[in-house]
Amino acid sequence: MSDTAIPTAMPKPIAGPVIWLRANLFANPLNAIMTVLVVWFLVMSLPALLDWLLLDAVFQADSVRECRAAGSGACWAFIGEKHRLILFGLYPYEEQWRPLLVVLLLIAMAGVSCLRRFWTKWLAPMWIATLVVVGILMWGGVLGLSYVENARWGGLPLTMILAFVAIAVAFPLGVLLALGRRSNLPAIRAICTIYIELVRGVPAVSLLFMASVMLPLLLPEGMNIDKLLRAQIALIVYASAYLAEVVRGGLQSLSKGQYEAADALGLTYWQKQRLIILPQALRITIPPLVNTLITVFKDTSLVVIIGLYDLMNAAKASFVDPAWRGSSIEAYVFVSLIYFAFCFFMSKYSQSIEKRLAQSQNR
């Protein structure tokens, strides 16, 4: 029999706004109720939010009292007045171009690091050079820059330095801990397991507190570690334990056959991990990894408990001024937007990596 079947055309996609509405918003009774509720909520909240944020907001005023008299919305005049305190903390006012430069430099380097064509052997040296420049700008004391002790550092540059250094050190440390926890050597396995479980078992706040109060007690007499460094160490310790568990999840998801094939080819332990195991394990764990990195970035705000003026604490300090007392909402909205911008970027970037990896493997 010859093939005489009439070729059936692919069904035409049915389109149109009414059909779209029915399919997506009113597909069934529950769906319709949800749609109505969401629309009602938006109608109730959006205009009020818009009024507060923009239409009734006050952009020019000399005190919070003037603000409140001029309009019922947000007092953005407060941000205009205090943004440098929030962004740079107690850093000497005339020298604040230096932390500004630090922020721009770190953002630029983070941006460059995201681009694949810069993933060369020069990236690590570039970061080290960047951190040296950051140190010179922040501390000064050389090249005609006045010396600024790090007790006066604050605001966004402090938050960024804490977060970037914590992530940069904790990530490799976390990978080593994850490998150690799966090691064949009982001593290494025990040490890594105890470290991870101890650190994960206590709140980050208590780690910071311990680093701040207990670490000096453990050190020999006369030796003193700077408060900022102690906070930085606590953040690294905390982040590395969480990252280790995320990475371990990825390691466990690989089949035994991958390890065996690498062994059978004669690769050494470190070659096997670096070339075969970690590239696959880290790829699988991108979503939880980025989740942890975002958490670490935001948890830098916990340094407030040991009295560092990071972005969040600087915001709190900004509305202590009697003339602007009562502007806490504006301050929090302002810093929230900054935090959000960073975290949203990380989230989007991880999505783009996932998409590209999915394409490259056709899987």
């Binding site: 089949s255 056959g257 991958q258 065996e260 094939a261 690498a262 062994d263 059978a264 080819l265 004669g266 690769l267 050494t268 070659q271 070339l275 075969i276 590239p279 696959q280 790829r283 490259s360 493997q361 056709n362 899987r363």
Partner: protein, 255 residues
């Protein structure tokens, strides 16, 4: 054979003496004695759970034996990592489930061990890899990822990958059992061609009796962790001695 002019040709390529292994209380290998000559082709068969895979996995120490001696090309396998690495450099292995590296292209899969283990320059390693891809008849797939290939193609890549380290011994652990039926032949063809064209020592765990007939110098039957019977393929298939061998052959040749 004309190619039998090898240097210390009387020393066995692989020697197992009184090898024993337990998984917990389960005695998986019992007093295994086996001597494999250079260039010899051996097919191992037996019911599932008979210890045949475990035995060949002991030869490159993917599994550790607990008693007895295993010597590969004069190197005894012990806990010494350097000896294990030395043996693995000369022993290629093909797995039931291919175990290609999914994040690397076919070519990268093939050049990995030559570049990192044997320190071959990249260009030379790639030329060798292409040569072997041609031998397994899929040079056009070099820049694809394993996930884009069929099962049969993946297993042929896995064979090429094992050959790229220029091994003295090739171990095949049920290379066709995970394949769809229509792909078994293409993989067996490659293995037969390999046996014809090279003098590499081959040990193959398989139930493909046609392959055993045409390639093997010796067929070994294992059951319950022991070597029950071994013979030339002709004798093995036409005059099996042991009752268990007869039962096994009747089961797999029945249909």
């Amino acid at each position: 054979m004309a190619t039998a002019v090898q240097q210390p040709s009387d020393e066995p390529m692989i020697l197992l003496e009184k090898v024993n292994k337990w998984y917990g209380d389960f005695h998986v290998l019992t007093d295994i004695d086996l001597s494999v000559k250079r260039g010899e082709r051996i097919v191992i068969c037996g019911p599932s759970g008979s210890g045949k895979s475990t035995m060949i996995r002991c030869i490159n120490r993917l599994e550790e034996h607990q008693a007895g001696r295993i010597v590969v090309d004069g190197v005894e396998l012990t806990n010494d990592v350097r000896k294990v690495e030395a043996v693995r450099r000369d022993v290629g292995m093909v797995f039931q489930h291919f175990n290609l590296f999914p994040h690397l292209t076919v070519l990268q899969n093939l050049t990995l061990a030559p570049i990192w283990v044997r320190k071959t320059p990249k260009a030379e390693a790639e030329a060798t890899a292409m040569k072997y891809l041609e031998r397994v008849r899929i040079p056009e797939q070099a820049h694809k990822y394993p996930g884009q290939l069929s099962g049969g193609q993946q297993q042929r890549v896995a064979i090429a990958r094992a050959l790229c380290i220029n091994p003295k011994v090739m171990l095949f652990d049920e290379p066709t059992s995970a394949l769809d039926p229509e792909m078994v032949a293409e993989v067996l063809d490659v293995m037969i061609k390999l046996a014809d064209e090279s003098n590499v020592t081959m040990i193959c765990v398989t139930h493909e009796m046609g392959f055993a007939r045409s390639v093997a110098d010796r067929v070994i039957f294992m059951d319950r962790g022991q070597i029950v019977e071994q013979n030339t393929p002709e004798e093995f298939f036409s005059h099996p001695q042991n009752e268990r061998t007869k039962l096994f052959l009747s089961q797999i040749l029945a249909h």
